[in-house]
Amino acid sequence: MTFQAFSWSRWVGIMSKEFIQLKRDRLTFGMIIGIPVLQLILFGYAINADPKRLPTAVLAADSSQYSRTLLAAMQNSGYWRITQRVSSEAEAEELLAHGEAQFVVSIPENFGRKLVRGEKPVLLIEADASDPSATGNAIAALAQIASGALARELKGSLGDLAGAEPPFELRVHRRYNPEGVTAYNIVPGLLGTILTMTMILMTGLAMTRERERGTFENLLATPALPIEVMTGKIVPYILIGLIQVTLIFGFALTLFEVPMRGNAPLLYAVVLLFIAANLTLGITFSSIARNQLQAMQMTFFFFLPSILLSGFMFPFRGMPEWAQWLGSLLPLTHFLVLVRGIMLKGNGLDELWPQIWPIAVFMLVVISIGLGFYKRTLD
């Protein structure tokens, strides 16, 4: 092999060619803007939805006026619609399992009497939290509504009990989704999955397209180096990734009011790293794949575990150990923690470092595999 130095001029040439081609490819361009907007709007409804009149079953062992007041207040708030009364725990369980009831409110025996005595009776709410966005708001509002209603009632007869503290103990059991993934998790998750999907797919197609159209032969006949071609082709997509991210953040902050507690430049730096990791994977896929279809299949093959094992779909800590181990190899897993950390907790670089280096290592490993597979000949 004769030694040949990296040429910036060639690199710029490859980059600008890719830009021009991208500019002329309307469909791809539409996809790049369309996918995030569409997804956000779809998921946005889930985030924004403030579901009301949720079917609720009541298991009441107490029929005091306090119980009645409580149930009436819940009904009046609009969140709960008491659809049936059940007489046993088993019956309630079955309603939840079949999704006929979203909530079961259990009022214990002597609820009224204990309340008056100041014994803080337990009010148990079981929620089907498999779709946390459906139950989140109702649960959040519950304590307020219940104690407000009871306070008014108690003020009438026993004013001294109406303190700042609720006169009962509210116990919420989130069934099926103990971690109670909230709406805020969706924006980082969406950001990560959209980037994973589009970045890998776009670049995955970039090289295989050259091969399918026969232009690869021309490219190969020039002195362009594999590293110049691979990295030069990546740059335009980094820009596209940043556009997508800005779109998503814009929606997240304005429309869905996701808080932003951390440092915005830091967030963008993390996003850039994540984009770069996905792009190197995409370009590596496209050096391995023989045609665009194969590149597409590889993308989906990678995309599925990314969604399932990263903590986007299922709570990461709830997964078996082997799945956590696999998941920790994926950039998306770390990216989710990073974005949540910055946006919701206001984390800084110190706290984030343990999630940053795995992405960087992933990227280095992937690009060296890709360079190994890059075909220098037509063989």
Binding site: V12, G214, E217, L378
Partner: protein, 309 residues
């Protein structure tokens, strides 16, 4: 540096268990126009790709412009202009963008001037902002040629550069090639056209992956002691005659050329005896003729059937 632009020996290439190029050896001198002929699927493209580092030979060795064809492909790529058989520039780039991209890939300093010059030279200047994909076949060909000559290579490898190009454009093209050769540039050109073969300094004929003949057009013409007769008559007479002659064992070939038939055999006396019964037909004129390159290639090809790609 030697006088040879291409000097390779014993190149072999297989795809799977298909032995596509067998013991390929070729010497092309500086400033020489070397024609590369052979039926479809005979291994021309594969051989050319091995010469410019796009395919790695399974075995064999040699040099291209003094650089090793196996180890110094980078250096070869910088100095060789390769025109692919199929149009392989970027159809979604304009003519100018394509040329500029190619110029950049070769790290040309005077990029703008070179592109402008190439556009003017090839009469593409006013179409420079047209997408390459919207060009007609002939124009695509011209663009591809301009692109592969942009970096002023010392060796041109042209894979069927004039396929589907009109006669005027072909004539222009060959004039250009001869002008380039006069400046010392070497050219290896694959073609199917006999008139083009005649315009080459040297020829090689490949069939089924094996080089069957090499030499100047004149040497190739006299490779065999072919004796040829030209027969003229009305079209109906000629086609009836051709049908009959095909079954005569002494006759190797009967080829129709417009209003004449070429009848060819390997032994003059035997051929003369064999055609004797047909010579008295009224209205048909038999005359001795010189064999053409086409006659020779047809003869060479007899043992090597056309491999479809």
């Amino acid at each position: 540096m030697t006088d040879l632009a291409i000097d390779v020996h014993g190149l072999n290439k297989s795809f799977g268990d298909k032995h596509v190029v067998k013991d390929f050896a070729l010497q092309v001198r500086r400033g020489e126009i070397y024609g590369f002929l052979g039926p479809n699927g005979s291994g021309k493209t594969t051989s050319i790709r091995m010469l410019c580092g796009l395919l790695r030979p399974d075995s064999g060795s040699g040099t291209c412009l003094g650089h090793d064809v196996i180890r110094q492909t980078g250096a070869i790529k910088r100095e060789v202009g390769y025109m692919t058989q199929r149009f392989s520039l970027w159809e979604d780039l304009t003519i100018r963008e394509n040329l500029e991209f190619v110029a950049r890939m070769y790290g040309m300093k005077d990029r703008r001037a070179a592109v402008g010059h190439a556009l003017a030279e090839l009469g593409l200047a006013e179409r420079r902002d047209q997408l390459a994909g919207t060009l007609s076949g002939g124009w695509k060909q011209r663009l591809a040629l301009a692109a592969c000559m942009l970096h002023r290579p010392r060796l041109l490898l042209l894979d069927e550069p004039t396929a589907g190009v009109d006669p005027q454009a072909r004539r222009d093209f060959w004039e250009e090639i001869h002008a380039l050769a006069a400046t010392g540039i070497s050219v290896l050109v694959a073609t199917h056209y006999m008139d083009e073969a005649e315009r080459c300094h040297r020829l090689a004929y490949i069939a089924d992956g094996r080089l069957l003949a090499k030499g100047t057009p004149d040497e190739v013409l006299h490779l065999f002691h072919l004796s040829t007769w030209a027969v003229s008559g009305t079209p109906a007479q000629l086609s009836a005659l051709a049908a009959k002659l095909k079954h005569v064992p002494e006759i190797c070939h009967v080829t129709a050329f417009g209003n004449t038939l070429h009848v060819m055999g390997e032994e003059d006396a035997a051929l003369e005896r064999a055609i004797a019964p047909f010579r008295d037909e009224p209205g048909i004129d038999w005359r001795r003729a010189d064999p053409t390159l086409e006659d020779v290639f047809l003869h060479l090809m007899q043992g090597a059937p056309d491999n479809l790609q």
